[in-house]
C-alpha cells in the first residue's frame, strides 16, 4: 500500500468538516479545470480583449441564459475553491488572534464578491429582442 499523497493537503483523518472541505476543494477543482480553462480560452483565444466592451457583454456574452448560468456556476466554483484555498494558506502561516481576524475578513470578502457577481450576472438587462 502506497503512502497517502503529500502533493496537496494530506487527507484529514476522522471525517467531519475538514474532510468535507478537502473533498470540496477537489470537486470544485475538477469543475474549474473545465469551466475556468474554457472561460479563459473563449475570452482570450476566440475573442480578443480589443473587441470586448460593455456592448460585447450585454449583446453577445450575456445575451443568452446559458452563458449567464455557466458564468454563475464558474463564479460559485471559483469562490469555493479560491477562498477555501486561501483559508488553508492563512491557517498555515498565521496563528491566534491575527488568524481569527484575517479569516473573518476573508469570509466577509467572499460574501461581498459573491453578492457583486451574482447581482450583475442576474440583473444586467438583456438587449431588446429583434
Amino acid at each position: 500500500m502506497a503512502l497517502p499523497s503529500r502533493a496537496g493537503r494530506i487527507r484529514p483523518h476522522g471525517g467531519g468538516f475538514e474532510l468535507f472541505v478537502w473533498y470540496l476543494i477537489r470537486l470544485s477543482g475538477l469543475a474549474l479545470f473545465v469551466l475556468a480553462l474554457a472561460h479563459f480560452s473563449i475570452l482570450h483565444f476566440l475573442y480578443d480583449p480589443a473587441e470586448q466592451d460593455t456592448k460585447f457583454i450585454t449583446e453577445m456574452r450575456w445575451s443568452s441564459i446559458f452563458w449567464r448560468v455557466t458564468d454563475w456556476l464558474l463564479l460559485m466554483m471559483v469562490l469555493l475553491h479560491s477562498f477555501l484555498g486561501v483559508r488553508v494558506v492563512v491557517r498555515d502561516y498565521v496563528k491566534g488572534g491575527a488568524r481569527i481576524v484575517l479569516l473573518m475578513g476573508l469570509y466577509v470578502l467572499a460574501f461581498v464578491i459573491f453578492a457583486l457577481g451574482t447581482v450583475v450576472v442576474m440583473t444586467l438587462p438583456r438587449p431588446p429582442m429583434s
Partner: protein, 120 residues
C-alpha cells in the same frame, strides 16, 4: 519555505501551486469587481477593458494564463495521486508531463494573446 528548504521537484511543484493559487485568487477578486461595473458603471468598464488590450495588459494576461494553466495541470496531478496513491511513485514523471503539456499548449496560447500587440 522556499529559502529554508533545498527542495526537489515535489517541493517546487507545491510552492508553484500555492503561489499561482494566491495570484489567481487576487485576480478573481479584482475581475468580479470590474465585471460588476458593466452594470454599475459601463463607462468605467470600457476604460478598464482598454488596459486588458494594451501591451502591459497582454503581458499580464499571459502571466495569468500561465498561473491558471499550471495550477489546473498540477491540480489534476494532486487529485490523481490523492485517489490513486499508487501513482505517487511517479509524482516526478507526472510533474514533467505537466510541463510538457504546459509548454506545448501554453506557448501557442501566449503567441495568440501577444500577437495583436505587434500588429500581427
Amino acid at each position: 519555505m522556499l529559502l529554508r528548504y533545498r527542495g526537489s521537484e515535489g517541493m517546487v511543484a507545491w510552492a508553484f501551486h500555492r503561489i499561482s493559487g494566491v495570484a489567481i485568487w487576487l485576480f478573481v477578486v479584482v475581475h468580479v469587481i470590474d465585471i460588476y461595473l458593466v452594470g454599475g458603471n459601463p463607462e468605467a468598464y470600457d476604460e478598464i477593458l482598454k488596459v486588458y488590450a494594451s501591451l502591459p495588459g497582454r503581458i499580464g494576461e499571459v502571466l495569468l494564463g500561465a498561473a491558471l494553466f499550471y495550477h489546473a495541470l498540477n491540480g489534476m496531478r494532486i487529485i490523481a495521486m490523492d485517489f490513486w496513491p499508487a501513482l505517487t511513485v511517479y509524482h516526478r514523471q507526472l510533474w514533467y508531463l505537466n510541463w510538457l503539456i504546459f509548454l506545448g499548449l501554453g506557448l501557442p496560447g501566449a503567441f495568440i494573446i501577444m500577437k495583436p500587440a505587434f500588429g500581427l
